[in-house]
């Protein structure tokens, strides 16, 4: 249920809705629950609402870490697909 990847605000409209970029994918999100949002801010989004504004430096750092850890989990996933379990 939680979307762990920080998303970047790319557009804000007059109704307090924003377009966000989640690692390349565009989505709509409400800004009602955070103070003073701006285009370019990185936010954590939950169930269609931005719930936290991350310091940009922090956000870029966590994206870097995320890419690294995705590499780790991809290794785990490819191991797992070798195991051929039924779903």
């Amino acid at each position: 249920m939680c979307l762990a990847i920080p998303s970047k605000i790319t557009h804000i409209d007059e109704n307090g809705m924003a377009t966000i970029d989640v690692d390349g994918v565009q989505r709509s999100t409400s800004l009602l629950l955070i103070e003073d949002p701006k285009v370019g801010d990185y936010v954590i989004v939950h169930a269609g609402f931005a719930i936290h504004k991350i310091d940009e430096q922090f956000a870029l750092e966590s994206l870097t870490v995320l890419r690294e850890s995705l590499a780790i989990s991809m290794q785990a996933d490819s191991r797992e697909s070798d195991m051929n379990y039924e779903l």
Binding site: L33, I34, E35, A47, G48, D55, F58, Y85
Partner: protein, 369 residues
């Protein structure tokens, strides 16, 4: 342990080094050779399984899943109430997707939808609000399930509906609050947990201070963690250090998202609409102030008040061990129905339905059990 590790975040070898550290603490200390750490949050559970972290931890360190899957802890009587609402005339039910397939006592939302009831999966409470605007002749009921991360979003939808003068939008609140449930867990005589990995995004809202009682009153090692493998390894390493030192802390290992005070705006929106109420949790029983109900000022949005909801005497599926799994007492393979009568395609209990459920995670990621 606070800001400094951010420097290390840039190091691609970080995960490996964290594992080395975990191994080294664990080999040095008798006290950490057999420990049970609980990840409270369902998103952590999935992240832990997907990244393969369980297999790299030293023997004797086990990660057990807790009650942090909102759909899983929703009481059977609430599931039955959702189904009863969906059967009412001139009603559209809006819900997050995971609830659809949870078996109630005599039906499920999925079966009701197949039988012609109007049940729609939404991504956000605002989507439900839009459905209400588009269908002024119907009453749209949003099924409010989730913790303090979700509750402010539902509260915001009620405030928006109030502001817009929308009279056909309602919410059935089955929201749960995390700190009271943790209190019950750490006090439960049959639950043995040496340290807690606290949920990341509930903490974004509540702030780390909300868990201070775990350290001061219960002396339980705690860490607030993000969702990436490095975050989780960092959390495990922190807990082992605390246990090793015999010094319980409340460590915030997710400072890029979690502050001591949390998100004051989200908290004030949540508090404006909801008040604490004693609430029934699946597996944990009735928890004092463990849920949120809609305040009287917003009673016209409260489906529990506006509808006469009749539910059957709830029957928990025979043999389903979800209750013990949510407390970390059992693991899914210890349930007699696991992988036999109960599979993701034909689930018996909610822990096999939800993508965050422990049984679903075991089914998907643990191939040999």
């Amino acid at each position: 342990m606070s800001i400094k590790h951010l420097e290390e975040y840039r190091d691609p070898e970080l995960a490996r080094r964290l594992i080395d550290r975990i191994q080294s603490i664990s080999s040095k200390s008798v006290g950490t050779k057999s420990v049970r750490l609980m990840e409270v949050c369902g998103t952590h559970t999935v992240s832990i399984f997907r990244s393969g972290i369980r297999s790299v931890l030293p023997d004797g360190i086990s990660l057990v899943s807790g009650p942090g899957c909102p759909v899983c802890v929703t009481d059977q009587s609430d599931i039955d109430a959702f189904i009863a609402i969906s059967r009412m005339d001139h009603v559209i039910v809006a819900t997050f997707g995971d609830l659809i397939r949870v078996p109630g006592t005599d039906s499920s939302l999925q079966s009701e939808r197949a039988g012609g009831r109007d049940i729609r999966v939404v991504y956000s409470a605002l989507d439900a609000l839009n459905i209400a605007k588009q269908h002024p002749d119907k009453r749209v009921v949003f099924l409010g399930v989730g913790f303090e991360t979700t509750a402010p979003t539902i509260a915001a939808s009620i405030l928006t509906a109030n502001f817009a003068g929308l009279t056909n939008y309602l919410v059935y609140s089955a929201h749960k609050t995390v700190p009271p449930a943790l209190e019950v867990l750490v006090n439960a005589p049959d639950v043995h947990i040496d340290g807690l990995i606290l949920p990341g995004h509930v903490s974004v809202i509540l702030g780390s201070n909300a868990y201070m009682f775990l350290k001061t009153v219960h002396r339980k090692p705690c860490v607030i963690a993000g969702f990436e493998p490095v975050d989780i390894l960092h959390a495990v390493s922190s807990l082992l250090s605390q246990i090793h030192a015999g010094k319980p802390e409340l460590d915030n290992a997710y400072p890029r998202a979690v502050t001591p005070e949390g998100n004051p705006k989200a908290i004030s929106v949540m508090d404006a609409v909801f008040e604490p109420v004693d609430a029934a949790w699946r597996g944990l029983g009735t928890i004092p102030r463990g849920g949120l109900k809609i305040r009287e000022a917003y009673a016209r949005f409260d489906a529990a008040i506006q509808f006469d909801i009749q539910v059957p005497e709830p029957v928990i599926p025979n043999g389903c061990a979800c209750g013990d799994i949510l407390k970390g007492i059992k693991i899914p393979p210890e349930c007699a129905l696991y992988k036999k009568r109960c599979t993701p395609v034909d689930p018996v209990g909610p822990c096999m339905v939800s993508s965050e459920g422990t049984c679903a995670a075991y089914y998907r990621y643990v191939s040999n059990l």
